[in-house]
């Protein structure tokens, strides 16, 4: 069994309302020096099979990420 970590983040240039809201909230809590906040998803998959990375990539293409507005990366975690 392999643990694959998928990271899905909003694409550069695409509006990230969540990140903006969190940035505003942190500033209101008194944190200073925050230049940018981007919010994305982390998906941990426990996979069986010969090529878990390729499988995870296909999962991203078909379901986990929206290529029009998101970029993804996949990595094996040990």
């Amino acid at each position: 069994m392999t643990r694959v970590v998928v990271t899905v983040m909003p694409r550069d240039g695409v509006l990230d309302p969540q990140g903006q809201a969190v940035q505003g909230a942190l500033a209101r809590l008194g944190f200073a020096g925050i230049h940018d906040v981007r919010l994305g998803r982390r998906i941990e998959l426990e996979l069986d099979g010969p090529d878990p990375l390729a499988q995870a990539r296909e999962m991203c293409d078909r379901l986990l990420a929206n290529p029009l507005i998101e970029d993804f990366t996949v990595a094996i975690e040990d």
Partner: protein
């Protein structure tokens, strides 16, 4: 005077005011950025909505806003606080109520009428309520998660548990019973014209306080 707290993204504040008025009281707004509740505040309502867009976690950002310190002081002094839907989420995130509200088991928004059982009549809110209430729910993150041993579960969905709450909880109070949060919307059930008046009792309790 009942203070209805308004955050950016609050949606049900006007309905909450109307419900207070239907119960014979008067209401005024408190603004999220204020540090004190309006003078003469006897009880507080945190209304439904999507405060701060529900970004990060529902209620999380609102629970850290300045007005919440004043709400906490009000509650600590024994004052009544009613959190409805998003208000319930805010109270949990603020630590004024035990547990947290998580995404519905359906993973979707659910808007429909539900039948509630009143399990605990021994709070200022529920003293005069009947055994059952018909009130709508409308939320995306309404599954209460927490330790039932540490919580006063005041309202329950009974056998149905449409959102997947622990112990089928629909409404939870603090140990003293003066802070109550519920996912169903009593302010949508104060007028016969809209189908039910079962929510009125909760506002009468506030007005009496």
């Amino acid at each position: 005077m009942i203070a209805v707290v308004r955050f950016p993204g609050s949606l049900d504040h006007d309905s909450a005011v109307r419900a207070v008025e239907a119960a014979g009281g008067t209401a005024t707004y408190a603004w999220h950025a204020d540090r004190a509740l309006p003078a003469g505040t006897r009880a507080v309502v945190l209304p439904g909505g999507f405060s701060y867009g529900d970004h990060l976690r529902p209620g999380a950002i609102a629970s850290r806003s300045p007005i919440m310190d004043a709400v906490r002081r009000h509650a600590d002094a024994g004052g009544l606080v009613l959190g409805i839907c998003n208000g319930f989420q805010v109270l949990c995130e603020a630590g004024l109520l035990p547990g947290v509200l998580r995404t519905n088991a359906t993973t979707s928004f659910v808007c429909r009428q539900v039948e509630l059982e009143v399990l605990d009549h021994d709070t200022p809110f529920t003293r005069d309520l009947g055994a059952g209430l018909s009130i709508p729910i409308k939320n995306h993150d309404g599954a209460w998660y927490g330790d039932p041993a540490d919580a006063r579960i005041v309202l329950s969905y009974g056998m149905e548990n449409p959102l997947g709450s622990i112990a089928s909880a629909a409404g939870v109070a603090n140990a003293q019973g003066n802070v109550l949060g519920l996912m169903p919307h009593p302010e949508e059930a104060v007028d016969r014209l809209l189908g039910s008046t079962d929510g009125l009792g909760l506002f009468t309790a506030l007005v009496r306080a």
